[in-house]
Symmetry: D3
Subunit: 254 residues, 6 copies
């Protein structure tokens, strides 16, 4: 494992897009991308483009009412031609696939992880992440973008007096990034071409204070050991710090 670390420091690995192993793809976060939602963000991570909206409603689903607590939920979907081959619509098939369910739930958990439900009060925020173009890392881009949309929606809610103090509701930022081992080399932020040949693949969501909200590591193709795990987590920490800078920069714009 020592070699891998050296290689990273060495920076001699050549990735298809010329990046270093520990380098993020260019990130662009556009707020107010559409007009209707309380929060509306287009996030671009390389060629991956996701539209993230946050819908604030001052009512709760029935099962949550009279709890004195709010709720945050998320739905993820891909447009049919986000991918190089057209994917059939889940609405036409009449059911939601396992991958969609899994990712929707992941996004929801990550955002709930930074929201104080009591401070939110009996209000609901629905996150929608629709992938316009998919080039790897759509679920992590969704989380990173959704945080910004959520922040905007809470500003809206404070202005419209649905919540008292946004700073109490939103405890800290959250972002997510993928890391993986490709041909034995740990790498940060995998595009599709790398993701499809990764032997180990991990999605890591972290808060602004550097703690973990979610770690999902899967090694369907080759198990990974504790040393590799540590390198991957280091890479993820670096990536998430940079993503949170991008979030901050976007949120500071008028």
């Amino acid at each position: 494992m020592v070699q891998i670390k050296d290689m990273l420091v060495d920076g001699t690995v050549m990735r298809p897009d010329g990046r270093a192993a520990d380098e993020l793809r260019p990130v662009r976060i556009t707020r107010h991308w559409t007009d209707a939602p309380e929060g509306s963000v287009l996030i671009e991570c390389g060629n991956t483009r996701v539209m993230c909206t946050a819908s604030f409603t001052p009512t709760l689903p029935r099962w949550r009412r009279d709890s004195g607590q709010g709720w945050v939920t998320a739905e993820y979907a891909m447009l049919p031609r986000a991918t190089s081959q057209r994917t059939d619509r889940e609405s036409v098939k009449g059911k939601i696939g396992g991958r969609t369910h899994e990712i929707s739930r992941l996004i929801g958990r990550c955002l709930r992880g930074v929201v104080d439900m009591k401070a939110l009060g009996e209000n609901q925020i629905q996150i929608d992440c629709d992938v316009l173009q998919a080039d790897g890392g759509t679920r992590t881009a969704s989380i990173t973008g959704a945080y910004v949309a959520l922040s905007d929606a809470l500003d809206w809610a404070q202005q419209h007096r649905h919540i008292k103090d946004k700073s109490k509701v939103l405890k800290e930022p959250v972002s997510a990034v993928s890391v993986g081992v490709i041909d034995g080399t740990p790498m940060l932020d995998l595009p599709y071409v790398e993701d499809s040949k990764a032997m180990t693949d991990m999605n890591v969501a972290m808060t602004g204070s550097g703690a973990f909200i979610e770690i999902q590591g899967t090694a369907e193709h080759r198990p990974f050991d504790r040393d590799e795990l540590n390198i991957l987590l280091d890479l993820a920490s670096k990536g998430n710090k940079e993503l949170q800078q991008a979030q901050r920069a976007a949120l500071e714009q008028a």
Copy 2:
């Protein structure tokens, strides 16, 4: 009815966005909006924004095989926060609503109306129109944008030798526009605020030679007579001519 015509000529009607009764909203057509599809177009008609993609595949659905003819089909959908209130996803509900079905079929018929299925050969083109932001006229914007995506997909198909001669496959342009009667005044290209109070509402798809592909007029709130129909069709002809200019301009760009 004479008065209405005068009023139009007169141009004194005040519309919420300051347009004349016979004036289109600003149209913007962006080609190659995403990278994966053979044709990918973002069309903006005022605040209505639709992503239109055309997916070319050199195979046919089973029922159409060995017919010596191609097929063109279309699916329409709205993202949940395209509207001011969030709309539940049809994938989550597990079924497609009547409105979605109706519009998908309309778009498909309009585009098939300008394609020579024999010249297309045993190939399929799937049109996807996903509304990112809805402010009235989403079905007509879909048709207008989808034509451009279809044209690009056929260029791709000719370059990749799936078809011989695009000019034989695509017989002529098609575009569509809405017209309606609001407070007694016929108007062109209704945004949501007008559409919702239209007593008569008509969607008209026309070819480049000025013929009709589809007329769908509905008067749930007040029946209309032959004179009104004629005025509405005049408005639609004017609008479609201008939309076809916008299509041409977009297609002439490199």
Copy 3:
């Protein structure tokens, strides 16, 4: 286009069933065809046979309650062997097809177009049109028959004091008929054999006063121009007048 008009006057066109181009198929409207519904009509247009029922209920769907207004809705379906080849049941397939949705919505709009929702009060009328035998024009026969069933249901409602004055609720009659261009000749009321080779196909719903409720013209196979449109609308006006006579005759029977 002059030739077409002459040909119509001339009456020399030979149709498979021996009718003139501007001649309806024989219409038969049987009221009280079954006992349970508030309105129950069997309409026969040539070989097309549709059972139309109108169910009056003094309650509204939730979204419409407390609006002070009533609601009229419609559902259309085909029995499996209405057609020459058996069609799979949509209940067995677990979803409703696009064509069924499209027609159900059309019927609903046409009938709502002649009902005053305030005068109806907080009551609902559900129209069901089930095609027992299909030989073209099933959607237009449904509209024509459903009007009679609706009228009977409103009589029932007045007798049972759910509404005060039927004449205020039902503003005027509505009927519908198909027209189309076959081998260059415009024709009225197409049976299946003509419908399947029509290049242009239009369904026109009109009120008793001769105004339009719905115009749905589609030209998937050959666009049509303004002159053809005008001839088709003339044919439809003639057909609808005769259908409304048949409706009146049926309603005048004890």
Copy 4:
């Protein structure tokens, strides 16, 4: 139990429609009721009216192919206003209810019970029973009517040389009737008003030779003993003999 038998002989029981306890409702069987199906029958048992069609196709479902044997299957459904309260369509609900499934399967078994699958050869017959008006006994009327439709479809198949010898395919007639115990009195052929208060309810399908194809007795409200069972089966035998006379009479008409 002796008393019950006497009472039947005595004939003093008053039924709502004036029938004796062992008397069928009037039966009317109309063949060739619609034109498209190979067999098309309207059966009326009192106010219960069911349209029964038999669709013959010279192909088999995949699982049955290359077995050298044919297949007979059945689907049952109720139109929404067959009942006094409107029933929601199963196509709209997106799933078939348990009662519908149960009855469809019963009809299929009864008809398969009189068909020689080897003599039928690799052909399929699909039975559709659609209840136009429901007043009790819809499943038994369906079986009785479907037999006649099946017989007509087999005549058609012999004429079109899909089968060699109908008399080898259709082994014998089958009919079905309901019996039940109401207020302690066994009765034949229950209309809705009786069915809904029956303590014991039994549907009995029998062949022309008097043997049983199906017995379905249910006593949700009060268990029944062997003596009652025997009386009910006697009633059912009488009823089925008369129904088979009606079938024969219908089939003997040109």
Copy 5:
């Protein structure tokens, strides 16, 4: 038919598992098989194993509320590898098959047949029968096992004061068994190998007092006459008596 009876008495029929024609498979009833349900029973009839649970809830489904009466309902399902070939899950297919519906309804009716709904009061009992291993007779084993689970659930309800007097709620025991004619010989309690070649097949549910709750006889492969029916019912009576002894023995254990 005399011969068949003799043969039974004679006992010379050899069944694959060595049983006499009128002999049950070994029955084992295990109470409190799992901890969570109010009643939880594993019933084993030969190789058939069904887990039966009874869930008591002090609320009713909406349609039954304020009726002063309780409700008992049942659901039946097979685990995918209960059978020798894996069966696809109905949850994955997105719909429940006809056989499952039919059996669920049968179980529900049988148990409702021995429950006094007024004495139950406004409480609901949901029976779940999940087949762990299927070797014929799964529906009858479900009924027999569910009765024991129901009894335990009512004891629980009396202890928790949801009902006053269990002995008034549960009127008498109910059990069920299959009988059939194989190669001309009537037999009791058919395992899969016999069931699949039975010409006549009957499921008989009886109460502790020997009355019938349900008789479902089907003769898809060869109709049966009155004499055969009587022999089959004799066999079923014998079987049900023995099953009720097993139920009693199980319930008497602490």
Copy 6:
């Protein structure tokens, strides 16, 4: 974090069931639990009981054919009364929930992670994990039990000559266990009562050689830092080693 470790060593933490913080619940693995499946295992981890079957079929789903590689897939489900409140069946609801999808996919990935698909050849193994009783850790128990069922199914396949050499197909064992932080204390193998109040919750699947196949850590209620992660992974390693001993012991029995 030092304190936590001490506390563990100290062993002074009192868990509801008296276990030490780093102690597994009693594990029991019963092979050949049912007869039909190629592999059939009942695994009990404390009160959690899961039936795991492995179905071997010498055919592949269509998308995988002619790849020269096999496939392993898994489905997870809960029986309705596995839980203290009855859960509605997903088959009745007509769709599979997100949690079920997520867990099914997790199990499939874990088992694929220890199978050599080329050595498996064009064969499929379907894992079914049905939870009979749920008391926390159902997904990890499913993985641990499914490995044993998979191993048995591969023995069967080798005996029946579907595969050549099981030892090449099954690369190494896999097991899984849950760990979590409760009131600040990291703990191993959480039952429901602990799981529901865990602030951090992690499921860890490991191979026999101590490498990771899956790490799924979620901190919806309180983010966790790197030190906590390391303690949790240590606990998981200890637990998985013991679970693999239990697997080995079970597999060594005749």
